[in-house]
């Protein structure tokens, strides 16, 4: 039961955090509620996608389809990282203008380009983490302790929701300028973590050379094979023994983001 709680909490947390931060942002500058509606639609779609993906992962044992799923999972990581980044930069452009422009205009702009992105990001976040949760719960159900499983899973889900709600609420307390900056930075960190996970998958599958592996070893400091270390790794992209290719991808990502960040700041 304790294990079910922890696994469900951790698997759902990332999805809920992304949703919570988006929610806080939408609440601050979208009066119509349309953005929040697309957020919830996206979350619901994500649950459906997670069930489908979990079912596929359970049913498929063939090598080839196993590989196709692996590619699909890696691709969702890239898409999610890219979309979140693109949205944050979009937010930044519009957050700048917000003071000068009428609120209605901003809402109209958000309607056009932001809402589909919000929905897709939410759906991907849920689907990615959800698929593993589905398999984990399915496996636990085979073990027979259904009551303990149910309590653990529901508590884990509620715990993740509460964690993200607290994060979103404390973000929303801030003034809008600070909220935008802080939520943007958090989302970018999450996006970079997704990117590192994707790069690692490519290296692990042998599709990308690691170049130099590992570049350093900080497992004495933070060991990413422990529960807590894994949590840090999942949310920040931290690796105790990173490959050079991962480092390069990480540096390139932040270089490009900083460049775009500055540009949107002046424009």
């Amino acid at each position: 039961m304790g294990n079910a709680f922890f696994v469900v909490w951790r698997e759902s947390l990332e999805a809920f955090l992304i949703a919570g931060i988006l929610y806080a942002w939408l609440k601050a500058n979208d009066d119509t509620g349309a953005g929040r509606r697309s957020l919830f639609l996206g979350l619901a779609a994500g649950v459906g996608l997670a069930l489908l993906l979990g079912w596929a992962l359970l049913g498929v044992q063939d090598e080839l389809t196993g590989e196709a799923l692996e590619i699909f999972q890696t691709a969702t990581l890239f898409v999610a990282a890219g979309l979140i980044t693109q949205m944050v930069l979009w937010m930044r452009r519009h957050g700048r203008r917000m003071k000068a422009e009428l609120h209605a205009q901003l809402a109209a702009a958000a309607q056009r380009s932001g809402h589909l992105g919000v929905a897709v990001v939410a759906a991907l976040a849920v689907a990615r983490e959800g698929a593993e949760t589905v398999i984990f719960l399915y496996g636990m159900a085979q073990e027979g302790d259904l009551q303990g499983l149910l309590i653990g899973a529901v508590a884990g889900l509620a715990g993740a929701g509460a964690t993200a709600w607290l994060a979103a609420k404390s973000l929303a307390r801030l003034n809008i300028g600070l909220l935008l900056r802080l939520s943007s930075i958090l989302l970018l960190i999450l996006a970079s973590a997704l990117l590192i996970a994707a790069i690692d998958r490519l290296i692990g599958a042998g599709w990308l050379p690691p170049l130099l592996d590992p570049v350093w070893d900080t497992s004495m400091l933070i060991d990413d094979t422990t529960k807590a270390g894994k949590l840090v790794a999942d949310f920040s992209g931290y690796r105790a023994r990173p490959a050079l290719s991962s480092l390069l991808a990480w540096a390139t990502y932040w270089g490009l983001v900083l460049l775009a960040w500055r540009r949107t700041g002046h424009g």
């Binding site: 294990n3 696994v7 691709a75 890239f78 898409v79 496996g139 085979q142 490519l202 692990g204 990413d224």
Partner: protein
């Protein structure tokens, strides 16, 4: 978005080209009751090898290692293969992400 699509295509191309040679040494790893059997695998260094991971349950398991860059979710009763690329001599940790307390193991490349 465009980059993401490109990487998908790139991945697909590479996958189709990656024919796996069958003379690779194969090692077996059993996952059972949240534990690994054996907990220490000795493999030759600088050699490609295949790891056949079987989950005998009960429950789902996840073979994971950030340093080996592998992640594999296994439903109970499922066997899957992982191909490892030549590694330098050393000890590499892996764990069962669904049973992190008991499921810890390592690969020693010699």
């Amino acid at each position: 978005m465009k980059h993401a699509l490109l990487s998908v295509i790139f991945g697909l191309l590479l996958a189709s080209g990656a024919a796996v040679a069958d003379d690779m040494p194969t090692f077996k790893l059993l996952m059972k009751d949240g534990r690994f059997f054996p907990e220490m695998l000795e493999v030759p260094a600088n050699t490609r090898f295949r790891l056949e991971v079987k989950n005998e349950g009960p429950g789902a398991t996840e073979f994971e290692s950030l340093e080996l860059k592998k992640e594999l979710v296994l439903a109970p009763g499922v066997t899957r293969n992982l191909v490892f690329f030549p590694m330098k001599p050393g000890s590499y940790k892996f764990f069962d992400d669904f049973h992190p307390e008991t499921g810890q193991g390592r690969i020693v490349a010699k």
